[in-house]
Amino acid sequence: MKRETLNVKRGKGDKSCLAALLIAALLSLFDSPVSAETALLPLQDVRAFDTPSDGGGSLTILWSSAPYDSAIMKYQILLGEETALSDPAAMKVVAEFPADQHYVHDSKWPWWTRPTTRDQHQFTLRNGKGIALKDWTAYTIAVAAVLNDDRVIARPVQATPQPNWVNWNQMNNFLLMLLFGGIVFYAIGTARKREIFLRRIPGLDAVDEAIGRATELGKPILYLTGAHDMTDPSTIAAAVILGRVAKRAAGYETDLLVPHRDPITMAVCHEITKQAYLEAGKPDLFKDDANFFITSDQFSYTAAVDGIMLRKKPATNFFMGYYFAEALLLTETGASTGAIQIAGTDADHQLPFFVTTCDYTLIGEELFAASAYLSREPVQVGTLRGQDIGKAFILGVLGVGTILATLGVILDAQWPHFFLDIFKDTK
């Protein structure tokens, strides 16, 4: 049932296909079996060319749909390596499929790269499965229509596969990157000129309070930067926030413990912490072994950190960055020692555990917002503003897109796709 609705949704192309089916059925009513002479006309507009926007080793073949396209009829794709071929019938059959399949509208081409109308037939030959297409070698290709024992072969065409330098299908992705980059730079520029309002993030107000509490109790602060390495934005955000926390901790003369899972992150955080102590005017308090490595293995790291929590009893635990299943093992142990726990992560699958077991949790994007909020630097605040504009843009796309997609169904129209295709993940 579901599948039927899906098929019909596709619109015009399928309608014509339905019509073709009807005609085929009618034909077979009057004159069955369909005689080869009347049914199998030579195929129209056969074209073959190098598949655009790909890494080579592939050819695309197009031909017009025929009125008799139906499931009982089949198309064959024939491939020959020689360019001067006398007998197309001797070419190798590399694909065979029912004639009501492989239309242009089944392919993933967005409108800006679609080579022809949506109702034409389309087949892409690729390397593999018994086909070896060499780049820069010309091939002869023919399409045959087959009904029972009859076969009509269209005039062979030639094409040469080659690798391309640009994937035009992904230009929407590229444009979005430029657009968003522009927005971010614009917002940073605005932020440099005037103050931008930022709403309160409850978790962040707690940071100072938590560091203060550790100072009162004379216990250390434990700070974790997550499971990912330095190439992950959440780790970078965690490292930036570590800088702010370390600066406050230095000011309060509170000990900081930062156990690591990734050596490079450890090295970077070491530098950041050192700098923070310098900026706080307490370089002599900086301890070289505040940042230390345990192991890169998930659960032995967790066991060791749990051990630290139980033995050193830190008053405040920070969990920033990306986490996996170890999240709950860390936070529950931390809760049992009575520490204040502040988490911030973009790991959506672990958020439920942080939210339920920590005192404050920075949810998803709030982790990135945190460094802006703590520093109030124009660059950071501007970025945040840029992200907000980006989200507003996406909200608009969602609204307009849904209306257009619905209109497309009601009016049975294709024009909404000029908008919708831009926001599709075309590969």
Binding site: N172, R199, A267, V268, L351, P352, I394, L398, A405, D412
Partner: protein, 251 residues
């Protein structure tokens, strides 16, 4: 049964019980298991890194196929070790700069593709569907995630949660209602994900307990029972001792 399996059974059982003893409280047995675990895992990582990186990624390609370009990452890697020379430590920045640069570059288009465009594509659906025989209709089925009703619910959910993440807008007036809807959606999702995960976590425990039951078999020499006894005994002795200590301190 081969002797290494029997010894293995004893070791595995012991380590399992020692780790579990941490549920009662921190104790020497857990500390032994914890430190052994860290040691073994670091050793394991070193061996695996040596095998894959030094042997398979550097040595073999260079010696066997002459891929001398691999000396570049080796050089970058070595730069990182300048951190041990305080005066030259800044050179290690080149390595970080390269890693972070590559990572950021790779992230941008891929994130746009699979986390922005793909998510938009999945959310933007027609609200009315063309049902054969009935024409354009609004489908009410809750169980079909693509039904009209669910399309609207998903759209509301995505929009409300996205709005909650606006940082430069005060959540007041109508915005407050939307943001609160967003929070409600967030909480339902977190609760559901929590409840859903319980089963996977219980499966893990079942797996460990099944192993322990298996190792209580006489063919292994019943390590589970013996070692369980030992663990409990240690915990009892330890709590006796620490309570003795405490009374002394109090005096």
């Amino acid at each position: 049964m081969p002797i290494e399996s029997i010894i293995g059974g004893w070791v595995a059982t012991g380590l399992t019980l020692f780790i579990f003893s941490f549920l009662y409280k921190d104790n020497p047995l857990f500390k032994v298991a914890e430190n052994l675990y860290v040691g073994v895992s670091v050793g394991y990582t070193i061996v695996k890194t040596f095998d894959t990186v030094i042997v398979h990624l550097i040595w073999k390609p260079i010696v066997e196929t002459g891929e001398w370009s691999l000396l570049i990452p080796v050089a970058i890697g070595t730069l990182m070790l300048t951190r041990y020379v305080p005066k030259a430590a800044w050179i290690s920045r080149y390595a970080f700069a390269f890693i972070v640069g590559v990572g950021s570059g790779l992230a941008i288009p891929r994130t746009i593709s699979s986390f922005i465009l793909k998510q938009i594509e999945d959310t933007v659906r027609p609200i009315l569907l063309l049902v054969p025989g009935e024409g354009v209709t609004f489908t009410w089925s809750l169980l079909d995630p693509t039904s009209s009703l669910n399309t609207i619910i998903i759209l509301i959910g995505v929009s409300a949660v996205l709005f909650y993440f606006f940082f430069s807008v005060e959540h007041s007036g109508p915005g407050k209602v939307v943001a609160r809807t967003g929070i409600l959606f967030l909480m339902i999702a977190f609760g559901a994900a929590f409840g859903y995960t319980v089963m996977a976590r219980m499966s893990l425990l079942i797996g460990r307990l099944t192993d322990l039951i298996e190792f209580s078999d006489p063919s292994y020499g019943m390590p589970t029972l013996w070692l369980l006894g030992l663990t409990i005994l240690t915990l009892v002795v330890m709590s006796r001792r620490s309570s003795g200590k405490q009374t002394k301190e109090e005096e």
